[in-house]
Amino acid sequence: MTKNITVPMDEQTKLDLTAGDYVYLTGTIYTARDAAHKRMQESLDKGEALPIDIVNQIIYYMGPSPAREGKVIGSAGPTTAGRMDRYTPRLLDLGLGAMIGKGKRTQDVKDAIVRNKSVYFAAVGGAGALLSKSIIKSEVVAYDDLGTEAIRKLEVKDFPVIVVADSKGNYLYK
């Protein structure tokens, strides 16, 4: 089923998503990949606040190439989600709304998705030039020193993704 969704999404919207749905996202999402996840984990371990409020937000596992002059962003496709699996259940339990990446997740992550009524979307890996056209604004909001791995706040318009893991425990990959 093809759907157009405004993000962040409310609970009912998430519950209505089913693995295999083709979805166009419009609204605000955040980027974070390996190094940003490691730092967020270290902050939580020390009892400190995260640099962004993740509650109900979407994290896109992505580190862009630099923007040319006059462009919003460079190439901007998903990175492999599995490398974030060690950090993900904790973030979901703290209220993270959903994730966008590519590739397999562990059973722990899948369980946390069901437990928290979350959703894991895949964007098409290796289509970074095309996907960059759906990003209309990009701003570094934390960990600027990490370069491509900084946390960015993105405004997206009709950003194409596919539901891989839904809140009912369905999982699209074989």
């Binding site: 083709y22 190439s65 040319r68 462009k71 496709g77 599995g82 397999k104 290796g126 289509a127 030039a129």
Partner: protein
């Protein structure tokens, strides 16, 4: 003897890094067109169509094909009659990578140490493989390698008794494990024989061979064709979402080996299998 100033190498490496990350080689473009024609799943076709469109946007608007512009892997084939002047060759190659990645708006994906992990901010150093060959030319091959697929690569130290069936199983195991993580449709580089490191290097080098060109050795060519069919029968499909095209090419290189061993290296590459050559 022929003298080559290393500045010429820097300039070549720099422009090649930029070109290879924005324009996919003709053989890979054809492979993607063929994949589109062969794909039976509707979603698979839709994804392949996006990948084709992605290539057009990348080239026309100079946006890298993929944001992971890779770690630069460089094969240097140096004619033994060549004398380099003007400084260190290795420094010149890395200077080319630095210039290409900084001036070409490519992503800086290299950290200075595998444990301490500070970004070097210019994508250096490259991984450079030198070989000395007859003649007075220098052939540079650059293959930026993304790590989504690199991470799914494997080395199997098989036993001679495992034979060709063991090799086939090893390839299928690696591809199945890679699945959606390696951005299928993939290209599979395989090195059979040699030693532990030689098989991995052959697997990497095999990825630089044009998609659609087979080995000259009859049984290896057969193996390449059979494995492509077997991999596609797995049904992983474009983006791992199911379909009839999981791989676009299987390229195999072989080398003599020890009486006690059968090393097999499998280097998995995504559909953005970037390679570019230049002879100086």
């Amino acid at each position: 003897m022929r003298e080559i100033n290393v500045n010429e190498i820097t300039e070549a490496v720099s422009s090649m890094c930029i070109e290879v990350n924005h324009v996919l080689s003709e053989d890979m473009k054809c492979a993607l067109d063929n994949a589109f024609n062969k794909e039976e799943s509707e979603l698979g076709k839709q994804i392949l169509d996006q990948l084709k469109e992605n290539l057009v946007i990348a080239k026309e608007e100079m946006i890298p094909i993929c944001q992971d512009t890779g770690m630069a892997v460089i094969f240097m084939e140096i004619g033994q009659e060549v004398h380099f002047t003007g400084g260190s060759l290795e420094d010149a190659i890395n200077e080319g990578v630095r210039k290409g990645y900084v001036e070409g708006y490519l992503r800086k994906s290299v950290v200075d140490d595998p444990i301490i992990r500070n970004n070097t901010k210019d994508n250096t150093p490259a991984v450079i493989h030198y070989s000395v060959v007859p003649g007075e030319n220098v052939k540079i091959t650059i293959s930026p390698k993304g790590f989504g697929s690199e991470n799914m690569s494997r080395v199997f130290m098989l036993k001679p008794a495992d034979g060709i069936e063991g090799v086939k199983n090893a390839i299928l195991t690696a591809v199945k494990d890679a699945g959606p993580n390696a951005c299928p449709p993939m290209v599979i580089g395989v090195g059979i024989g040699g030693t532990f490191e030689k098989c991995a290097l052959m697997a990497k080098h095999a990825l630089t061979r044009k998609a659609g060109v087979h080995s000259d050795i009859p049984y290896v060519k057969e193996l390449e064709e059979e494995m492509l069919d077997k991999i596609n029968a797995l049904g992983i499909g474009p983006a791992g979402l199911g379909g009839s095209v999981t791989a676009m090419a299987v390229n195999v290189e072989t080398y003599p080996t020890h009486i006690a061993g059968l090393p097999v290296g499998i280097n998995i590459c995504c559909h953005v299998n970037r390679h570019i050559e230049r002879v100086i």
